[in-house]
């Protein structure tokens, strides 16, 4: 069933690639790496034979637009990819007219970590996605799980799976988790409500594993500075010494830079080789922006961002 879906998807995208005279198409291709697909820049319609879409298409493809791509580019977008593109448009990193967006109603992505926990050594071809379930072929026979239970944490509280303002809205895949019931603000709420020292201890404990590989920064579709504050040496805000002060400084600063911009795609979280729940640690800022400004990033490219725009009725309680 999902093979038919992929074949139809390829033909639809190929047709658009040719018709629109695009220079490139950014989507996903299979890889030999267990439970992971490769983001791929397809440069001709023929190459699309290799395109796939499944529950492992976790990489936010907006990230591949952040260095001002030349020409007209097609992008296969899920809800979060589309929202990140809106932020890039707001920040004039990409021109809407250079993009041809094919929106895919996102079925919710699967957590590689959860699956590997449950099935050590699991390979991609042992996983079959269908309807609201995921079936894993094991040596002891197939095991069927609820897709909802295997979702990437960020997808469990996503209410924007269907990308809006796209040139082509594709049909829904024949596999999808039911609509999310959780709310992101509710998810990060407990962290915000912790007593200060307990929250500090949580941050210190989680961040103690950070190795400063900067994968969270580099995968973020919205981190596009040519020179990150981490690399500035006049003044040197931090050093690369792997110590709590530097690690904390890095994350707190990146966190502040994401305020009002983060679309909660969760890339920073799943990419972390140390499994630091960055989405949650950074999430209080997103929740605060939602509460203070009734603003959710990436929903509308024509709106100003709350933290780069002054309005007379901005909340000012903190000024006292």
């Amino acid at each position: 069933m999902s093979e038919d879906y992929t074949r139809a998807l390829v033909e639809t995208l190929r047709e658009a690639f040719e018709r629109e005279g695009l220079d490139r198409w950014i989507a996903y291709a299979p890889s030999r790496v267990p439970l992971r697909v490769r983001p791929t820049v397809f440069t001709s319609p023929d190459e699309l034979d290799n395109l796939i879409f499944n529950g492992f298409c976790v990489q936010n493809l907006a990230g591949y637009l952040k260095h001002h791509p030349e020409g007209r580019v097609g992008v296969l977008v899920k809800g979060c990819d589309r929202r990140a593109i809106n932020v890039l448009i707001q920040e004039k990193q990409v021109s809407r007219e250079n993009l041809f967006l094919a929106g895919i109603p996102c079925p919710g992505m699967l957590s590689r970590t959860r699956l590997l926990e449950e099935f050590p050594g699991l390979q991609s071809d042992q996983v079959e996605e269908s309807g609201e379930t995921v079936t894993v072929r094991t040596p002891d026979g197939p095991r069927t799980l609820s897709r909802d239970d295997m979702l990437l944490p960020t997808c469990r509280s996503c209410h924007h799976r269907i990308p809006e303002d796209v040139e082509l809205l594709l049909g829904p895949p024949p596999f999808a988790a039911p609509e999310a019931e959780m709310d992101f603000s509710a998810e990060v709420g407990p962290i915000g409500e912790m007593p200060r020292n307990q929250r500090a201890a949580l941050f210190a404990d989680e961040l103690s594993r950070c190795i400063l590989c900067y994968a969270c920064r580099n995968i973020c579709p919205l981190c596009y500075c040519d020179t990150c504050f981490t690399d500035v040496n006049q003044p040197a805000w931090m050093t690369p010494a792997l110590e709590p002060g530097n690690i904390f400084f890095y994350h707190v600063n990146r966190m502040m830079h994401m305020a009002g911009r983060c679309v909660a795609c969760g890339s920073c979280e799943w990419v972390c080789p140390e499994h630091i729940p960055l989405r949650l640690l950074y999430g209080k800022i997103t929740a605060d922006v939602a509460e203070l400004f009734s603003y959710e990033a990436g929903l509308d490219a024509t709106l100003p961002q709350p933290l780069s725009h002054f309005s007379e009725d901005d909340p000012d309680e903190h000024i006292g």
């Binding site: 790496v33 820049v41 594993r209 190795i211 400063l212 590989c213 900067y214 994968a215 995968i219 080789p273």
Partner: protein, 351 residues
């Protein structure tokens, strides 16, 4: 290093391992693979540490015992009249024991030695750790699907570089002492061991000879690979990798061989220190000059540098290949840049 003529095998019951490590830790600076968060990394022994010998390979390489992520090379103090005093790194002669590292990580030490001891002036801080190092290696029962150590000339039970090889068996561990240094390390702990009975010994021997349960492709011919990479240095293949590379440090930090570093000062008026820390050829600022000029300014330059270094420059300079087949970069790369594909691309007909 003196290797003993015949390996001397002793058996440690599984239940005695904790007490053994505790006793060993009194005699040396002991590093063991520990569960930290959801991962496993090699860290100095602590009573409360969660030993983990099961993750294959541990998602952090063992290289940090010889080449720490961050190390202080010296401290300086400045008095009020501006005079500077330099305080060098402290040194010790205490043995440094690495427990439970697999053969891939230990083979990688050859490559690190080639850089830090043989390439030019020996790196004194690396050498003082290397000279202290005694290795209790771990026979690897369950290579992962992404492991390819045999293709790179190693094997799960390869004992090269180990002072003791520890073979996991149902009831416990067979310790095969391979060098005098290994013998000296555990001699005072003889009471923990019993003689290996013939059945146990033959079980271990069978495991050792079995090799990898699922070798992934044929052994790499490094001379041919080097020639092919050199000849293919302008192939569009590199662009296809660069197109998706994020430029993060995961692959280099996870690699047991990668050893690029930087030197940075941390200082205040009264004093400070110079540190050496892991750096990565994949970071765009790695080669960026004060003028802004960057000889490896494009992602493709950096991707090429990483793989050329591993399969071309190292070999050209008579150093070991820059890959031991542990597969960590394969499983950890967020965009599936797969070093096995690089090998297969330039060594077609294999795999």
């Amino acid at each position: 290093m003196t290797r003993t003529n015949t390996s001397d095998s002793r058996f440690l019951l599984r239940d005695d391992l904790t007490a053994f490590l505790s006793a060993l830790s009194e005699r040396c600076e002991l590093w063991i693979p520990q569960a930290v968060g959801e991962g496993v990394r090699f860290l100095p022994y602590r009573e409360e540490a969660l030993l983990n010998l099961d993750q294959t390979p541990p998602d952090h390489p063992a290289k940090s015992i010889l080449f720490p992520n961050t190390e202080t090379l010296f401290r300086y103090e400045r008095t009020e009249d501006g005079a500077i005093t330099l305080i060098p790194q402290e040194t010790t002669n205490q043995p440094l024991a690495l427990f439970g590292a697999r053969s891939c990580d230990i083979r990688a030490f050859d490559a690190l030695d080639a850089v830090f001891l043989k390439r030019s002036a020996p790196d004194t801080s690396y050498r003082q750790r290397r000279n202290r190092l005694v290795i209790i290696g771990f026979g690897c029962l369950d290579p992962a699907a992404t492991c390819f150590c045999e293709r790179m000339g190693g094997g799960p039970f390869d004992e090269a570089g180990m002072d003791i090889q520890m073979i996991p068996l149902p009831e416990g561990y067979l310790f095969r002492t391979l060098t005098d240094r290994g013998k000296a390390l555990i001699a005072p702990l003889a009471s923990f061991f019993k003689e290996a009975d013939p059945v146990t010994a033959s079980q271990a021997e069978a495991l050792r000879r079995k090799g990898a349960p699922h070798p992934d492709g044929a052994a790499v011919d490094f001379a041919a690979l080097k020639a092919a990479v050199e000849a293919g240095r302008e192939e569009p293949f590199w662009e296809s990798l660069a197109a998706v590379c994020l430029g993060c440090g995961i692959c280099t930090f996870a690699c047991p061989v990668c050893s690029c570093f930087s030197l940075v000062d941390e200082g205040a008026l009264k004093g400070g220190r110079r540190i050496r820390h892991w750096d990565a050829c994949m970071f765009s600022v790695f080669t960026r000059e004060a003028s802004g000029h960057n000889p490896r300014g494009a992602a493709v330059d950096r991707v090429k540098q990483r793989f050329f270094h591993k399969f071309f420059y190292s070999l050209e300079n008579g150093e070991p290949p820059g890959c031991v087949g542990c597969g960590r970069c394969v499983t950890q790369c967020p965009t599936c840049i797969d070093i096995r594909e690089v090998i297969d691309h330039f060594q077609p007909g294999e795999g």
